[in-house]
């Protein structure tokens, strides 16, 4: 069953199809959430909520509006950002100092050895500061092109080309 079929089945409330989609994207979604909330326990709770929410509003997804992954990524970023505005997050904020996803990667000692053989950890460590910040804002934080351009104080067109270059490097390394 290809991705398109899986998504259609999911929209018809097929639990088995949804389990496959969950397996495909769960780690990515929890990674994005963890990068925002910076707490494993909270990240797990939010990730589970995100997948329950996506299931409940399955009929609102349309492939014409974007990729399924992008859709669920949006739900996750919004849920995580909502949490950062809560009281409990503000109280625990002082306990961490990792700003970028790369910091999480660099300080991580729990990385799956199978995936680490790809050398991603080494790659992101070597990523230039320019790539780190643009990937952080666009994929982990959900900034628009314009918002990212304002945040980094670089022209909007530069965001697009720089991002393409950075993702290109990543793809070369991953072989995709």
């Amino acid at each position: 069953m290809d991705l398109e079929q899986l998504i259609l089945q999911f929209q018809k409330k097929d639990i088995k199809a949804y389990e496959k989609l969950y397996t495909m994207y769960c780690d990515s979604i929890s990674g994005v959430v963890n990068n925002i909330v910076k707490n494993n326990t909270v990240a797990q709770e939010i990730t589970q909520d995100v997948f329950i929410k996506a299931w409940n509003k399955a009929d609102t997804y349309s492939s014409k509006k974007g990729r399924f992954f992008t859709w669920i990524l949006n739900i996750a970023r919004n849920a995580a950002i909502d949490y950062t505005r809560s009281k409990s997050f503000k109280q625990s904020k002082q306990n961490h100092n990792a700003d970028f996803f790369v910091d999480i990667l660099e300080t991580s000692d729990n990385l799956d050895t199978a995936t680490d053989t790809i050398g991603l950890k080494e790659f992101v460590t070597k990523l230039g500061a320019k790539c780190k910040s643009v990937i952080e804002l666009l994929y982990f934080k959900g900034f628009t092109q314009k918002e990212a351009s304002e945040e980094l104080e670089i022209p909007i067109g530069t965001i697009k080309t720089r991002n393409r270059t950075c993702i290109g490097e990543l793809r070369t390394m991953l072989g995709v």
Partner: protein, 262 residues
């Protein structure tokens, strides 16, 4: 823009990030339908991002079983029903309160109406009791008059104009008053009144005792009239309203002489 240039523009990377506007998303979707190479490029970018983001998690993967029992299979069907239920409850609640409210208003209105009615009836009853006790007193007074041996009773017989008419005078010489029972007289025509006369017979000289202005309105048709004359007879004539100085004898309705023995 051909597909190669489109791919090179960097827009597809932003598409996967979700950074594009709704319109741009639509354009990319159309390009993907049109060019298979655009679709496969998007899939590759997505693949890279899925792997990259997965590295930002620290602990192991979460099991699907943890959320499985929280996924409602019939969720989309349940939602509209559960939405309707509180609505019905709400509507029936409002309807019930409206009903109760209007019933309450109606009851209060009824209560006030009844109170007014009772007040009116009470007043009427009091008036009736008052009247009854008055007429009882009057009747008792009449009985004492009729039984008093000092009082002279003089029947007045019907005359030529109205042979069926009759009346009776009870003369109390002590109080110098007469009680005239005029029940036997017909209702006078409009513009006319009965006038009562005290008569001396030799020679015939009438003295007016007054007109019975309240004849029609009076129920028992008994009139108390002052009479200080040495009357020998009493007569009643029909006169124009306001009365006359001397009796119109053609309109003499009743006449009766006082018995000589007294």
């Amino acid at each position: 823009m051909n597909s190669k240039e489109y791919i090179a523009s960097g827009i597809l990377e932003l598409y996967v990030a979700g950074s594009l506007s709704e319109k741009e998303n639509q354009e990319v979707y159309e390009a993907m339908q049109k060019y298979p190479e655009v679709l496969s490029e998007v899939q590759s970018i997505e693949n890279a991002i899925v792997q990259l983001t997965a590295f930002a998690k620290k602990d192991s993967s979460y099991a699907f079983d943890d959320i499985k029992n929280q996924l409602k299979v019939d969720a989309p069907k349940v939602i509209p029903i559960s939405k309707q239920k509180p609505n019905w409850l709400q509507y029936s609640g409002w309807a019930a309160s409206l009903l109760i409210g209007s019933f309450l208003m109606y009851t209060i209105y009824q209560n006030n109406q009844l109170k007014n009615q009772i007040a009116t009836e009470k007043q009427q009853l009091e008036e009736q009791i008052d009247k009854a006790s008055n007429s009882l007193a009057e009747a008792e007074k009449l009985i004492t008059v009729f039984r008093d041996k000092e009082i002279i009773s003089i029947p007045l017989a019907g005359q030529k104009v109205s042979p069926t008419s009759y009346a009776k005078v009870y003369w109390d010489k002590k109080t110098k008053s007469i009680y005239l029972d005029a029940k036997g007289l017909p209702t006078p025509p409009k513009g006319k009144v009965y006038q009562v006369w005290s008569l001396k017979l030799n020679p015939l000289s009438p003295t007016s005792l007054g007109t019975l202005d309240a004849f029609t309105a009076d129920n028992n048709k008994i009139f108390t009239i002052e009479n200080a004359n040495e009357s020998e007879a009493f007569g009643i004539t029909l006169e124009p309203e306001g009365g006359s100085i001397s009796p119109t004898l053609e309109q003499l309705y009743t006449l009766g002489a006082v018995a000589v023995t007294s």
